[in-house]
Structure formats: structure tokens, C-alpha cells
Symmetry: C2
Amino acid sequence: MKKLKRSGRLVDMTYFLLQHPHELISLTHFSERYQSAKSSISEDLAIIKEIFESEGMGALLTIPGASGGVKFIPTMDEEEAKRLIANLCEKLAVPERILPGGYLYMMDLLGNPRFIQEVGRLFAAVLAGKGINAVVTVATKGIPLAYAVGQYLDVPVSIVRRDLRVTEGSTVSINYVSGSSKRIQTMTLARRSLEIGSRVFIVDDFMKAGGTIRGMMDLLEEFQADVAGIGVLVESRGSEERLVEDYLSLTRISEVNVKEKSIHVEPGNVLEKLRSLKR
Amino acid sequence: MKKLKRSGRLVDMTYFLLQHPHELISLTHFSERYQSAKSSISEDLAIIKEIFESEGMGALLTIPGASGGVKFIPTMDEEEAKRLIANLCEKLAVPERILPGGYLYMMDLLGNPRFIQEVGRLFAAVLAGKGINAVVTVATKGIPLAYAVGQYLDVPVSIVRRDLRVTEGSTVSINYVSGSSKRIQTMTLARRSLEIGSRVFIVDDFMKAGGTIRGMMDLLEEFQADVAGIGVLVESRGSEERLVEDYLSLTRISEVNVKEKSIHVEPGNVLEKLRSLKR
């Protein structure tokens, strides 16, 4: 790369840091890339740090010493998180969403990559310090959320399936009872797709009683995984017994009235968790 | 936002542009955001444009006039695309990937969000001028690729399913013949999940004869969609009749020898397509 002035370096470094979240980048990397002194690079990073932190994009950690460097930790400030959740609540409350049986159509939201990215960034912000090294979800609708979180945390994604595929190699399966339908179902995870002893974040689009997530937790025990967090886009609070206790939710649906065509949605608990991080 | 100096503006604008690909952003937006004159903003954008274009991150289009502004088009330069594909070829050729029946395990690659993002950026680079307004894939393994492309093109994603779910609302289904197994299967797309008359990019992880993609094309006809492109991560060239003619592939597997535990992989045609864009 040709020698760059500060203005050019700032653009290039911003791009590079955004593409490499949670990765330790040595000052040498940048000083060689731009043929600039480390002191200039440090000044550049101070400018980037100030903007990233004042605008709530993320934190820039500086690790001193020979093996040190800089690490970009994506975050989301409270105001932005509030706007994201308020927007989601508003969109979820649209009565046209109601399907026969009181189910809700959500693919308009789940099919929007930019929205999914923002949700991923919010979860990653709450999870930043938890040492998570894998994200697990269940096919199909949780997949985009899992990749968005995995991308911002820079960790791999494993997909639990309800069917069996020849392209998975050897698998581990368990039976579980779906909380709402009470039916016995099977879920499967490819043995190779998750390292033994991983620290896992489980994510899904929707949780009612929590049977599916409970099933994933049981399946993950077979991988000696440590479930360090659970997150859902929408939780539905019904009268049924909860099978999962501690989780993050962006929104909470307390009532779907099919007859009156109304949906009651409120913010979930993720904002409180985000707030408590700062204390 | 408080008034920023050029250095701060460059960091913030780079971040903002990367988060808003393919979106027309007025100069007024930036000049109000930073309380700076439009002439200063134009100078900032010229600096960003130079770096983005010289480093192969993307193009920055300036649209003049009152309703004009600036648009960031993510791209990938040939060198970076070559490295990505060479790396993928190397990883695909590892014999441990071979499963009984000659299938290949690929979840280690497909489960890596950063790799998936890069593939999405490469497809988006080739597709930038094609007016695509939706990405369609089939559950399960194509989903992360579809979101990565959708994100870089700033268009929604629709997921075709092989099962039926109550949360989809009214759906359109077709039967299709899987090219390799010759079995008749069903695929389904929620009516609400794709606008009639969309210009679609179809993406999947793997294509052998092309039966599944052919099925998607037939299903998309029911939505009066115009298939403006097809892309796969891996194509497998066997002796079977091809059901799909024109497509982009990152890699091509010409032989899997189960007995000798060898896989022959070569680059697909996407590099040629990327090159031909520049002429």
C-alpha cells in the first residue's frame, strides 16, 4: 500500500477495524501498512476511538506492551437501542401480522438484513465481555440473527436442525417436548460443527414456553458446552410454565387478540441488561 | 451531533457509508450532521472516494443536482477475490471433508460469519449494476449467504422452505424433481415474503445438477419474478444433465474420490464475471 496521509489512514483504519471486530490488531500492522511511525498511528487511533465512543459505535481498547495492539468492540448506545426496540414494537403491533391460530407473520422483519444486523449488534454489545466463542441457533428463522451476532462477536455459528441431512456427517440428536404443542420432537447437531466445551450464546427469533431453547440446552450438554447467554427477538408471555429462566429479549408480546385484531407488544429486558453493563 | 473537524468527520462518514450501502445520501444530511459547509463535505467525500476505490472496498458515486448526493457501492477488487477463492479451494480440498456417499462436510466454512460476509461482498460486487431488489435462497445452508448478499445490496431476503410452517401465512408451493436423487419434492414460499415482479438473485451453497435451483426458478415464476442472477458457493461438475445454464460459482468440484480420499477443486467462473465488469 502506498504511503497515506492522516486523512487517508483514518478512512482505511476505520474500514479495517469495522471488518475485524474483537480481533487484536498490532500497531505494527498499521504502521507497516501505511509506512507511518507508530506514534502517528497512535494519534490516528485516538481520533477513531473518540468518534467511535462518542457516537456509540463501539469501544476501542488499547492493549499495551510488545504483544499488544488495538481491539474494536462493537457496541450500541442506549439511545440507539431504544430507537431500535421502539421501532420493532411499533412494527410488531400491526394487526395485519396476525395469522390463523394467533400466530404472527414476521418474515418482513426477519427478511431485512440491515435490521437483523442491528439486532446482532445490540446482542453483541450486551455479550461483549462474556467470553462467548460460539453462537448456536435452530433452523430456520434464527439463522440470520445467529450470523449477525456471530459476525459482531467474531465467533462461528452452529445450526441445530429438526431434520437429518447426509451433509452433516456424524450427529448428536435428542428428543425434546415442544412447550406449546407438547409434541415430542427431535433436534440434531453435527458433531463437527461445535467444539467440545464451547461458551455458547443461543439465539432464536421467537420464544413462547421455551421448549425449543430448553431442547437446545439439553443438546448442548452433550457437547459439554457452557450456555453463557440466551437471546430472542420476541418473547410471548402466556400462561404456560416457563422452561427457560434467564434470557435476553428485545420485545415481549403479552397478548394477541385474534377477534379484535390487536397485538400488545412491549420492550423486553435487553435494555436493562445494556444499562447494567455501564455500572 | 457536535461540530466535528475533518478527521472526526472522515471516521464518522466512513462508518455511516459502510452501514448504508446502495443508499443515496444527500450532502445536506452530512452537512447538517456535522454543521459543516457542503464544500467541506465534498472534500471529505473526495478523500473517502480515493481510499475506497484505491483499496478496492467500493465505489463512491456522486449524483449531482438538488436531489443528488452520494452512494456507496461495495465492491471487491480482483486480487482480493482471487485470494478469497484460492483460500476456499484449498480448504475445500481437505480430504477430511469427505462423508459417506461422497458428500462433503462444509459447515466449518458456512459457519464462519466473516467468510460468509466476504462471499456476500464478492457476489454483490458482480451484481451491483443489475437492479436486483430481492435475494432468494432455500433453507437451510443458503440462508447465511443470502443475508450477506442482501446486506451488501441493501435488499430483502426471502427463504424458500421444504416444509410448511404455520407462521408463514398463505404460501405458494410447487413440486420439483431433485436432479441428483430424481425424487419429487415440494418447495414453498410465503406469499407475503416476495413482492410480485421482483428482480431476484438466487443463491445457494451447493449445486449439482441444479434441480433445486430450477425448482426455485419455477416457484419464482408464480411471483412473476425476473431472475437476474444465480450464484453458488460450490458447483459440482458430474456427468448429469445440467438443469441451470447461466450462474456464478466461486468454486467447482470436478471429482470426489472416496476411495483415494481426494477432492479436486478449481476456481469457478465468478472471477471472469468480475473482470468483465471492468471492461
